[in-house]
Symmetry: C2
């Protein structure tokens, strides 16, 4: 469990050995996967079982079972750094803290926010026992449901322009098509920015043509799961919301029809010279 080469195991069962100021506190940034409890790793479950505090966006915290000795700290979205600072302060005070994200915490989720917050805090916070535990990220859960659309080189792009210029998103879309990567898009569409995803689809059609398969995967592994596969020519912005991951195939991505339900979508491993 150690992040350092050849370092001692610093799993949740052990106290930190190098953070005298924090006594027994630790902070784990954990991925809960896409929704189904059967997709939570035993490693993450063990951390949750030993935590004194769980910190995160309300709907993710709601997925953690209450028990005596555990305090749940749900907060609204768009306050990621405040939430991360609160978690770091709890850890510095000796608590055993799990910051929960949906999916994988390192993919458009809380891990980067915690490190941003760590840089604003006291220097000795960097000596605390802080670990990131991976989870099943939304694009890989969605890809598995559809077949293997990310079976060869691919890009993951966050389509939200809350934290980066829209022009950079457009540039990355064009370069991803030029490189013939398959693509996975997180946060395709929000109420505050309904036009962005439509523009992204226009850029993709102009660069990649009408035929690429597009997978709209909403709420994968949850009760309201919904998958849809359409050619790029038929993809519309309304097919996505903020619960949706969108995957666009590369030029060689193929469909295999099934007698019922959706086709399998996969990207072959081989690219001809």
């Amino acid at each position: 469990m150690s992040a350092g080469t050849g370092g001692p195991d610093s799993g949740p069962e052990n106290g930190p050995e190098n953070s005298p100021s924090t006594a027994t506190g630790w902070l784990v940034i954990a991925g809960l996967g896409p929704g189904d409890a059967a997709l939570i790793t035993p490693e993450v479950q063990a951390a949750l079982d030993q935590a004194t505090d769980v910190v995160g966006y309300f709907p993710y915290v709601a997925r953690v079972a209450e028990r005596p000795g555990l305090t749940l700290h749900g907060s609204d979205n768009r306050v990621e750094v405040d939430r991360a600072l609160a978690a770091l302060r709890l850890c510095a005070g000796g608590r055993r803290v799990v910051v929960v994200s949906s999916g994988d915490p390192g993919v458009f989720a809380m891990a980067a926010a915690v490190f941003e917050a760590l840089e604003t805090g006291p220097a000795d916070w960097a000596g605390m026992d802080i670990r990131v535990l991976p989870g099943i990220t939304a694009m890989l859960a969605a890809a598995a449901r559809a077949g293997a659309p990310l079976g060869h080189d691919f890009c993951a792009i966050n389509l939200s322009d809350n934290l980066k210029p829209w022009a950079l998103i457009e540039k990355r879309l064009r370069l991803a098509v030029e490189g013939d990567f398959a693509m996975a898009f997180y946060n395709p569409r929000s109420r505050s920015r309904p036009e962005g995803f439509g523009r992204a689809l226009e850029i993709l059609r102009a660069a990649a043509g009408d035929d690429r398969p597009v997978i709209f995967a909403r709420a994968v592994s949850r009760a309201d799961e919904n998958l849809r596969v359409v050619p790029l020519s038929q993809a519309t912005a309304e097919m996505a919301d903020m619960q949706t991951v969108v995957i666009v195939g590369a030029s060689n991505t193929r469909l295999i029809d099934r007698p019922d339900g959706l086709p399998f979508v996969y990207t072959p491993r081989k690219v001809e010279a």
Copy 2:
């Protein structure tokens, strides 16, 4: 567990409802994660517990516990489509088959090979109960160990030129730098192709300069785990082997020094306009 929208649960406990020719057979393509059993999802474990046959590359099959009623079919690497065909035939014969991959089966692993094989077989194979179960892929396990280096837009590139022209790899590297993506590289180096990764590093230095942090993550979560973080100027081909995932930061990727061990490496969520 259904791949189709609103379809019935077709988990391992249920027989297929739409494949009269296959009786009770099913085929699951499952990701075992990077090595530690604590990173295997309960969903994958449940499939293994109900399988009659496990098919895969020898060292991955060796990670599955033997038990009465379970046949383990280990095979050499570079025979992925033969292995996939054998698994599909077992399924068609009514067996409950798990094809195992390390990491996630959809990321440079067996899922695409199974769909390639499916296309060469009888048309009614497409009606069999075939499902892909995601796993913790190597780049996300490695990223978690290091911090959050893939915390913003990123590309995943297989550096092996066994199945694609080397020129395409070079093109993708240049475009990934031009788009300022963080990058994760699978299969950086093999005995049969020792020079390729060195050339990749030269291309990256020419395009991105000397300072990008490079993470060499070998055998993450296994007993021989080894992590190393160096600037691009100091990265050498010898730092990687086929057990290594290599992550290269974007232009804004940052290091946070720790009093002991490796620094945290993370890519902030925000990109300035």
